[in-house]
Amino acid sequence: MKRRWRSERFRRWLDRRVPPAAALALSHRNVFILPSAAGWVFALLLIAMLLTAINYQNSLVYALTFWLVSMSLASMWLTFRNLAGLHLRAGHAESCFAGERVFLPLRLSVKSGCRAGLLAGFPGDPVEQTTVVPGVSQDIRIPLTTRERGVLRPRRIKLTTRYPFGLFTAWSWVALEYPVVIYPRPEHLPLRLSSGAEDPEGESARGVGSDPEFSGIRDYRPGDSMKLIAWKHSAASDSLKSKEYETEEGGTCWLDWEALTGESTEYRLSVLTSWVLQAEEAGIRYGLSLPDVVIEPSRGEQHQTQCLRTLALWEGR
């Protein structure tokens, strides 16, 4: 309990000190440094060498020991510098389903000096190692195992380095904002029809993958992709506008929240997610009916995304 409180307090402190942002430059504010395990062993080695120098009254051993001491202090600075000055920018991550691994793109760049032996990763997930040279942006994708649907609230990325000597570990807890939506985990249940009006087997619409058509400008909605924002129109009016695309009309079925009465909310959302996927796969036009939200039947990638996002972000009941 106490530990949890403490880690919570640490998180809040960290949030104040290193606030989340889409881009970040590392500096002494957000880089921490401590001797690594190898560094402690090295310290023991230096003590042994110093004792040798004292007991044998050997000037050369003194000189060697002091040189290594001096070098390890310099390496502390170099290890710190290997992180400091690094610019990080969150890339655009593709949505995935809860339980899958989302790959969060991270673009690293640096103005001067090579940055070698950089390790980036989330605690518990695999770590990516990379090297950044000046003038070239380095893109890496950091895997993160997702747990729940909704807007991804990633924990902080741990960026670590031990370069050049491995005697010190410098690290930073990087909080980058990834505006990515994690869809509910699909729970496979064969698709049933709730309205009963149309028989999906009888549908003949096979125009899967037809190109979306530009249909107009609408108000910006939270979650709209940056690509969708119509900057020219936004500039002309006093609010952000998005471009809207539609596919051609076809046969319809409804994926209905009420069809799953008696189940838990998350289970219902998971099954609906699976149905969206099945319907899209089958090329059926489908609409989504949730309490408070109704999405008119349509199909196509755009429509599927809209349905999945709605399911992911649904907060009612």
């Binding site: 007991n55 009254q57 050997n58 000189a63 060697l64 002091f66 600075w77 090297t131 370069y163």
Partner: protein, 670 residues
Amino acid sequence: MAELSPSVPPRGLLLLALALTGALIPHVSYLPGWLYVLSLLVVGWRTLVWLGRVRFPGKIVRGTAVVLATIAIVESSGRQMSLEAAGAFLVAAALLKVLEVSRRRDAVVLIYLVFFLQAAGFLFHQGIEDAAIGLVTIFLAVAAMVAVQASGAQGLPSGLPVLKPALSVMLVSIPFMLVLYFLFPRFAPLWSVALQSEKTLTALAEQMAPGDIASLSQSSGLAFRVTFERGQPQRSELYWRAMILDHYDGRTWRDSGKDRESSPARPAGDARFQYEVILEPTGQRYLPSLVGAGSDEGRIRRTDAGLLRHRSPVYQKLRYVVGSTGMAVTADLDDEALHRYLHLPEGMNPRSVEWASEFTQDLSAQEFAEKLALHFSSNAYFYTLKPSRYGRNDIDEFLFEGRRGFCAHYASATAFVARAVGIPARVVTGYQGGEWHPDGYLTVRQYDAHAWVELWDGERWLVFDPTAAVSPLRIEHGLERAVEEEGTFLTDQPLSPLRFRGIDWLNRLRLEMESLNYYWNRWVLSYDGRRQNEFLRNWLGLKDFAEGLYVLAGSIAVMFGLAMLVLWWRQREEADRPLVSAWKLLRERCESLGVEAPEGLTLGQLLALIATRLPALHSEAMELRHAVDQTLYAGAGDENLLARKLRRFALRIRPGAEATAAGNINKRPI
């Protein structure tokens, strides 16, 4: 974090192999032969692993190898722990570690071993050339460290420099290393180390039988160097006393061990000579000094006979400062001592005893010395390094038949006859003379080893060197001139540069090298507590060590401050790029008006947002946006000019801007 220790890149392996080889060089002189076989096996195996022919040895093979190596070391060192055995153990450990180096962790362990091996190597060899090799080794090891740390799952990124960062770290670290080196307190050994080198050190023997000094005479090894701080003795005064041999058993002279040591005696206030000696390791306790010596160093004892001895045997180069009066101190001899200095074994050398009885009974020591000197110089005695072989009554045979010998023979015979006459006498061994270097210091070599006699005249000990009577050249010009005709100088060392002193440029070169070595010894190898105090006092103007500690702390603080300054400077540079700061200003201004600008917006998007939210600035914002596109993406236009424009624009975004926007339309007369 799941993090598998990455494998060692080939470049790292190569550097590591070179560093290990370098670290082995100082150990080569004593390693047992089988270790070379082991190293070949290990290198062969590791190479085959690298080529993919065989796999890394398993646990059983490695375990067996460790056990076998340990046994072999214990056996080959004669079951005695010596420095050499410990060194061999370290070397074997490093070599066996090579067999397992595949991942970063193993490499790190091996690099640490290389550092320690190099430090241990400095215990064996400390010349300039050894230090230079050590420097290269350390550089390679540091570079290997960098290579090992920089490599990831895909190996070492190509084009990533390894040698350069290693070199720059080493260079950057030099100032602080020097601060530590000069200011770190030089403690006395914390405990006496049991591990000492079993290497046979060249030293004076504790006993003297005919022939002993002659073996030293064939060695051009350095015995010690002396720098005179006060006084400049004549060559004939340079009798470096090291040991007193007062017991004669009919064959050899040895130290009876009855010469008591007392606490350190300060040199007399009227010491004529003040000098600093840097003594090469001898493995013995004696410290050569001129007659009438004293020292105020706590680790130096003085015996009743006026000899200086170190607290413990000298295994490392030792530096000490002595003051000498040049005169033996007056003293009393008790009965026991008188008896000891007059003792002769019964029935030995009867002819000498008989000859002694011909001397007047109440002869003074001075008269005896003069008589004997006359005897040696007026009869056909020869100074030679190739004396005849003498039998059981060797002094008889030498004095009356062979008449050929070197210092040991003359000293031995003189002391014997003196005792037979009734004058207390003892043999002194040590060094005589030395070579004055043009830089003003004296180099004493092993071939300067000498033996002479001290006679008791009732008040003090009188120095008498019978060799001087036979061969004045030996005293005035050294051994080389004394045996010039004979051609026996350094016959065992045909290539010794000391044999070619006649060739001028070669001799100058030799003197230059000696000079280099001298300063190396004086300033690097023998930098001890005393020298440190001198340094603090004379160069830094510090009175005592406490002040030195303040300087140490101060220099750490200054270096830390400098590093911080550099860091701050770098950050400042980044912030100072005009376009970036203008951008920041723009963003701040927007936020002060409550226009939220998400973090990821580009400059163009930010301007578009401003145009949307602040209609009064709409046209200007759109114009600037165009300029941004032109400058940043089309590459047409000056970035700094754009930054200035942006800055000017940003300053116009102020609380009035919104109101103006609304006011333009609904302007009401007041």
